[in-house]
């Protein structure tokens, strides 16, 4: 039967096959093969991390066995060690505190500025807007050295989480101003005018009408600032050496590697526990982030 199929002429074969291998099917096969390829690339290191975090020490060390599967029973030992023997919970709490206050400061700075740029006419408004957008490009790598001195000599905040709270809005605010500007522009000006006709002052109109209407925008910006705060590495690495003040990115990467000794299981467990929540939050924000960038391009 099978060999018979090879005997028919090429056009006939194509005809015979066509009901099954339709154009749509072919397309979908290509799509799924492509997606599978990218899924393997994207997930391979993460799966390795996940598997390692549950591996018994003996299983991890044995190099003869394939690394992707368990050869001894999985264990929660690394996770319990992480919670009981390290300061993981303190680091996680620090990250939450730092990111929370980063959000608060960012909103205090960005909301008024974004409103002014979106609604008010004043000289050089356009230039201010562009200037703020450009500051988003200033890389932390140019600033961490002088900021270390400022934070240790001018204000005594170095080596505390408050150093990061003070500095993080430098990279969250510019983009948030830009995003909020877009949100404010989508609120019809008539709504605000109506409130003013009804006797609201400009400030009251902002507080009672504009801000409640832009809650989705404010939330988006808050999530963005929060995730950026949770992701940051350079400043935290530079400013904080006291283990009790470290955010989780630094705590996990520096305290679980002691000299040449790597606590692989704990490292991977900590990295995943700290990283996955950020990924989930960021995923919510991703589309808005792209929108913000496109807004710069087309408007």
């Amino acid at each position: 039967m099978a060999s018979k199929a090879f005997e028919v002429s090429a056009p006939a074969r194509a005809q015979e096959r066509s009901p099954w291998l339709t154009r749509a099917r072919k397309e979908s096969i290509v799509t799924w093969v492509g997606l599978a390829f990218f899924l393997i690339i994207a997930l391979f290191p993460i799966v390795i991390m996940l598997v390692t975090s549950f591996k018994q020490a003996g299983d991890l060390i044995s190099v003869q066995t394939p690394p992707l599967w368990f050869h001894k029973w999985p264990t929660f030992a690394h996770y319990t060690y992480l919670f009981k023997q390290t300061k993981f919970l303190t680091w996680a709490w620090n990250t939450i505190v730092i990111s929370f206050f980063t959000v608060v400061i960012t909103l205090i700075l960005a909301v008024p500025a974004a409103y002014a740029l979106a609604r008010l006419h004043f000289p050089n408004a356009e230039n201010f807007g562009i200037g703020i957008f450009l500051t988003y490009l200033v890389p932390p790598a140019l600033l961490f050295l002088p900021l270390t001195i400022i934070l240790s000599r001018y204000v005594n905040l170095i080596d505390t989480k408050w150093a990061l709270v003070v500095v993080y809005p430098t990279f969250t605010t510019p983009f948030c101003v830009w995003l909020l500007m877009g949100f404010f522009k989508t609120i019809p000006i008539e709504v605000e005018e109506a409130a003013r006709v009804d006797g609201c002052s400009r400030l009251q109109a902002i507080l009672r009408v504009v801000l409640p209407l832009s809650i989705p925008g404010l939330l988006t910006v808050a999530i963005f600032a929060f995730t950026l705060g949770m992701q940051e590495y350079i400043y935290a690495l530079t400013f904080i050496s006291n283990s009790l003040e470290k955010p989780v990115t630094i705590g996990v990467t520096s305290d679980l590697i002691r000299g040449d000794e790597y606590f692989w299981g704990e490292l991977m467990a900590g990295a995943l526990l700290a990283g996955i929540p950020v990924a989930i939050l960021y995923n919510f924000f991703l589309d808005h982030f792209v929108e913000g960038i496109s807004q710069g391009a087309i408007k």
Binding site: H121, L134, P139, L142, F144, T249, A274, G275, G296
Partner: protein
Amino acid sequence: MRRMVRGEAAFGYLLMAPVIIYLALLLLYPLLLSVWFSLTDASTGQPFGSWVGLKNFTDVWSNETFRLALRNSFIFTFGSEIGKAILGTVLAFLLLRRFRGKKVLRALLVLPWTVPVALTTLGWLLLFDPTFSMLNRTTSAIGFPYHPNWLGEPVPAMIAIMMANIWRGFPFSAIILLAGLTSVPPEILESAALDGCGFLRRFHYIIVPMIAPILFIGLLFDLVFSFTDLSVVYLLTRGGPENTTHILPELAYQNGIQGGDLAQGAAISLFMLPVFVVACVIMLRILRRREI
């Protein structure tokens, strides 16, 4: 009427004041301070040293490790950018297709970008580790012949840090390109096709000009962040083996903070300034052009 306008301007400046003061104090001032440090003999113990002119820059320039770091920075950034562009483009066109479970799959595919880079780099550290060499064990299982000591030899180490960086960044390239592609209204493409435009001409005359600004801004962001991010290199190689994989931000950190030589660290980091300025100028031109 005029009084009202003036009132509005004052209100505008009042609302702008907090962010401008904040950015002036914590962004502009440190930048200037950095320039000042680079012209003195400042150290972290004695940050306000005395003037030495351009000595730090000439010292740094004549230093072999620095020149290698400068070269590495460009190789690292542009090499990564090429890798990200290729993978990102293919992925973007894949995500443009219709398939089931798109939301979930996209969330999984962007994980390299959404999990903090410092944490996923730990995964790469394990993959490259010479004792466990998870990567080599996996590639030899599927018959791939190249099994170097990734972080222990100069060339493999450069490839390793670029691999980790490409992996980290390609989902972002894909997402940006996807945003550009979906911003081209399909009607325009259809009518062009009806008018007898082939795919290549449509690509050249419609798709590229329409998505170019978005791509440019995305690319600029990515270039600046790639060029100035130290986490991948710092966590994977710390510049080793034998100082062959330093990049500028990581070298500035090692010299300026760990070595305590503030002046030289500042000088090294200021070599990144031109890249930033060029990026700013291009960005400005894009932002201005959209006004027309």
